[in-house]
C-alpha cells in the first residue's frame, strides 16, 4: 500500500520524526479557518499519489486566510496531470503546512535489498531533487549502509552516514535520531520503502521532514488494523479491487494497456500459479498475439472461482478469445473443468449480468487432467495438449473473432 504524504507524516510523527506544523484538510473553509487562526505564510500541498505534483500545479503558497481559501477552492477537485500520470489524478484533500526557510536539503531513505536480505539506507546531501538523477550524475554522492536486522539500528550508523555524505553541520546532532526513528518505522510498520526528500535544515536550525514517501508491505498490514481505513481512502487500483471482490489475492489479476507497435491485447488468460500465469502471457506474445491480462487463480482453485475469473476477464471488451492454462498440482483438473462448463452455461441464478462469452481454448494437464478433459469433452470442448499449441490457437481465434 502506497501512502499519501499526510499519511506518511502521520507515521513519522508516531515514531518521532519532526514534520512541519500544519493541518490536513478536505474543504476550503477549513483551510481558511486554520490560516485565520494561525497567521503567517502557508503552503497548500495537494494530496495525490502521483509524482511530479509541483510541476503539475498542485502546490500553492498563501499569506492570508482569504488567499488560502481561494487557492484551496482552486485545488480541491482539480485533476493534476504529469508525464508519469497522463490520465491525471483528482485532488481530494490538502496538507496545509508552514512555509519554512530552507538552509539545506538532504535525502534519506530505507528500502529492502533483496539480494543482501537487509534494509539498505541511502543518504545524499543532494535532496529536493529526483534521487535517480543524483544516482546517474553523481553516484559517489549517495552513501549506503546495510543494517543487520539481528542487531538493528545504532546511532553510529547515522553519524557515519552524515559524515561520509557530507551533510552540513547543522544536521549532525539531529540526524542519527531521525534515521533511528525511520528504521523503527520501516521495521515496525513493515515498509518496502520510506523516503524523506527533502530532509530540510531550516535557517533557524531545525531538521524536519518536508515530504514523506512511504510504501507498506501488504502482507504486514494485518498487524496495523488502524491503517486499513487508509487503504479504503486511496484511489483504489481497479484490477486489485476486482480481484479481491471475487476472492482472489490482490496481485492475482492485472490488465495490460495496449502499447504502440505491439499486437493489440485481445487474448484473455487464466492460469494456476503466478509463474505459469506469466509463462502463459509470454506464450501468447510468442504466438504473435497480446495478452490482455494476467490472472492467477492460485492453488487448489474450486469450480466457482474459475467461473468468476472467466467472467472477470471477459468483462474487458478488448478480450476476443480466452486461453485457460492449467497445470494441475494442488489444483485439480476436474474442478477447473467444472468451473469452465459452469461459466459457459450463462449467469448463475441471482447474478445480475450475463457472462460475456468468447471463443475458448483450454490446456489441461497434471492432477486429475483426464477427468477434467472428460468433463470438457462431454460439454463439447476439445482441450489442447501443450501451452504453445494453446497460445497459438487462442491468438488465431482472437484474430478471427476481432475481424467479425
Amino acid at each position: 500500500m502506497k501512502l499519501m504524504e499526510y499519511q506518511g507524516k502521520d507515521l513519522f510523527r508516531r515514531v518521532g520524526i519532526p514534520t512541519p506544523n500544519g493541518v490536513f484538510s478536505t474543504t476550503a473553509a477549513d483551510v481558511r479557518d486554520y490560516v485565520a487562526a494561525h497567521p503567517g505564510s502557508w503552503v497548500l500541498k495537494s494530496q495525490v499519489m502521483m509524482g511530479g505534483r509541483g510541476k503539475a500545479g498542485g502546490i500553492k503558497f498563501a499569506d492570508d486566510a482569504q488567499q488560502s481559501e481561494t487557492l484551496a477552492r482552486e485545488l480541491i477537485g482539480k485533476v493534476l496531470k504529469s508525464i508519469q500520470n497522463p490520465d491525471g489524478e483528482e485532488v481530494k484533500s490538502l496538507l496545509v503546512e508552514e512555509k519554512v526557510d530552507i538552509a539545506s536539503e538532504a535525502y534519506v531513505s530505507i528500502a529492502i535489498d533483496r539480494a543482501r536480505k537487509r534494509p539498505i539506507v541511502m543518504v545524499t546531501r543532494f535532496g529536493g531533487m529526483d534521487v535517480e538523477e543524483v544516482a546517474e550524475k553523481n553516484p559517489d554522492d549517495i552513501k549506503k549502509y546495510w543494517i543487520d536486522p539481528a542487531t538493528g539500528y545504532s546511532p553510529f550508523i547515522g553519524r557515519r552516514l552524515a559524515f561520509s555524505a557530507g551533510l552540513p553541520e547543522g544536521y549532525r546532532k539531529a540526524f542519527p535520531a531521525i534515521l533511528g526513528a525511520l528504521y523503527t518505522l520501516f521495521m515496525d510498520f513493515g515498509a518496502n520503502l520510506v523516503e524523506i526528500n527533502p530532509l530540510v535544515l531550516t535557517k533557524d536550525g531545525r531538521v524536519i521532514a518536508s515530504d514523506a514517501k512511504v510504501e507498506l508491505d501488504d502482507n504486514g498490514l494485518y498487524k496495523h488494523p488502524d491503517l486499513a481505513r487508509w487503504n479504503k481512502q486511496s484511489p483504489a487500483d481497479e484490477d486489485q479491487a476486482a480481484a479481491v471482490a471475487i476472492g482472489l489475492g490482490m496481485s492475482n489479476y492485472a490488465r495490460f494497456a495496449d502499447e504502440p507497435g505491439e499486437p493489440p491485447k485481445t487474448v484473455g488468460t487464466i492460469a494456476n500459479g503466478a509463474g505459469l500465469g506469466m509463462g502463459t502471457m509470454d506464450a501468447v506474445k510468442n504466438a504473435g498475439g497480446g495478452a490482455a491480462n494476467f490472472l492467477d487463480i492460485g492453488g487448489g482453485a474450486q469450480a466457482d472461482l474459475v467461473k468468476k475469473s472467466y467472467a472477470l476477464v471477459t468483462a474487458d471488451p478488448r478480450v476476443k478469445a480466452m486461453f485457460i492454462n492449467i497445470f494441475g498440482g494442488i489444483t485439480r483438473g476436474d474442478q477447473v473443468a467444472k468451473g469452465i462448463v459452469e461459466a459457459l452455461k450463462g449467469p448463475s441464478p441471482g447474478a445480475d449480468q450475463p457472462v460475456r462469452q468468447v471463443p475458448l481454448v483450454v490446456r489441461l494437464t497434471g492432477t486429475n487432467a483426464e477427468e477434467g478433459r472428460a468433463i470438457l469433452a462431454e460439454a463439447g470442448f476439445v482441450p489442447v495438449e501443450t501451452m504453445d499449441e494453446g497460445a497459438a490457437r487462442a491468438v488465431e481465434l482472437a484474430n478471427a473473432n476481432g475481424k467479425k
Binding site: R118, N219, S251, F256, G275, N286
Partner: protein, 293 residues
C-alpha cells in the same frame, strides 16, 4: 546423490493436523518420504490417522523422532515464529510453504537463524525424485536422473519438469526457491550445492522478472560452473513495468529486475535462455552432446 534432501532425511511437519498439512503429509508418505511425525500445539500425545505421532512443540518432535528436516504449513502470521521454533530445536533444513509472510518478518528470520537452511517461504518445496519429497509438487511429473532444477515458481516448474521428463531427462533435485522478496535460499545457494553434487550433470534455472537473483546466478555460473551445461528460462518477459504479478517479488521497478538485464547476464555467462519452456529439453540436449573429437 542429491541436494538438501535424500531418501534417509527424517522429516517432521509443522501444522500436521491442518487441512493443507494433513493432505500433503499423506502425499509425502505415499512418495516415500521419511515422515516421522508432526507438530500441532495442543494435540501433543495424539496420533494422525496414519498413525504418526503429534507433538506440542518442535523441540519435543525433534527429540522424539530425531528429525533433521521440517516442512511448515502454518498461517502467515505464524510463519516467522515457526521458523524460529524450528531453528531453536536444531532443525537443519526447513521448507516453508506458507504464502503471505510479511517481508520484514523474513528479514529478521534470515538474520537470526544461522546454520539452518530455509527454503521459501511461498514455495512448492524440494523434491529429489525417486528418493524423497519435501513439498507440495505433483510428484508424478518428476523422474530420477541427473538434471538439477531450480525455480522461483511452482506451476512453471511442473511445466518445465514435465517437458524434461518426457524428453528423457530425469532430475537429481528440484528446488522451488519461492516467489517472495526475502527468501532463505537463493539460486546461488542452490548452484553452490549442485556444483558439489557429482550426480548433477546439468542444471535448469527457471527465473522470473523482478529482483537480481538471476543476475547473481549468472555471475556464479560464469565463475564456478563454466564446465556444467546450464539452460535458463525467464517468466514474465512480456510484462509491463510496475505491475505486480501474483508473486510479491515479481515486479519490475525502474531498471532493476528487467528481463533484458537477466537475459544479458545469462548470455555473458554462456547460458542459453529459452524463449519457451518447450525449448528447454532441446537446448539441454545440444549442450549435453559430447563434442566430437
Amino acid at each position: 546423490m542429491s541436494i538438501f534432501l535424500d531418501k534417509n532425511s527424517k522429516v517432521i511437519v509443522q501444522g500436521i493436523t491442518g487441512r493443507e498439512g494433513a493432505f500433503h503429509t499423506q502425499r509425502m508418505i505415499a512418495y516415500g518420504t521419511q515422515v516421522a511425525g508432526g507438530v500441532t500445539p495442543g494435540k501433543g500425545g495424539t496420533n494422525t490417522e496414519s498413525g504418526l505421532p503429534v507433538f506440542d512443540t518442535v523441540k519435543d518432535a525433534v527429540e522424539g523422532t530425531g528429525a533433521t528436516h521440517s516442512i511448515i504449513f502454518v498461517p502467515p502470521f505464524a510463519g516467522a515464529d515457526a521458523l524460529w521454533e524450528a531453528h531453536d530445536a536444531g532443525i537443519r533444513v526447513a521448507v516453508c510453504i506458507t504464502e503471505g509472510i510479511p517481508a520484514h518478518d523474513m528479514l529478521r528470520v534470515v538474520a537470526t537463524t544461522p546454520g539452518m537452511r530455509i527454503i521459501g517461504p511461498n514455495c512448492p518445496g524440494v523434491i529429489s525424485p525417486g528418493k524423497s519429497l519435501l513439498g507440495i509438487m505433483p510428484s508424478h511429473v518428476f523422474k530420477e536422473g541427473n538434471i538439477g532444477m531450480i525455480s522461483r515458481s511452482g506451476t512453471l516448474t511442473y511445466e518445465i519438469v514435465d517437458g524434461l521428463t518426457r524428453a528423457g531427462f530425469g532430475q537429481s533435485t528440484c528446488v522451488g526457491i519461492g516467489g517472495d522478496p526475502i527468501i532463505g535460499t537463493t539460486f546461488v545457494d542452490c548452484l553452490r550445492e549442485f556444483a558439489n553434487d557429482p550426480e548433477t550433470r546439468a542444471i535448469v534455472v527457471a527465473g522470473e522478472i523482478g529482483g537480481s537473483d538471476e543476475e547473481d546466478a549468472a555471475a556464479f555460473i560464469k565463475e564456478h560452473l563454466a564446465e556444467t551445461p546450464v539452460v535458463a528460462f525467464i517468466g514474465g518477459r512480456s510484462a509491463p513495468k510496475g505491475k505486480r504479478l501474483g508473486h510479491a517479488g515479481a515486479i519490475i521497478s525502474g531498471n532493476t529486475g528487467t528481463p533484458e538485464s537477466k537475459v544479458k547476464a545469462f548470455g555473458e555467462a554462456g547460458v542459453p535462455v529459452a524463449d519457451r519452456p518447450s525449448e528447454i529439453p532441446g537446448l539441454l540436449a545440444a549442450r549435453l552432446k559430447p563434442i566430437p573429437a
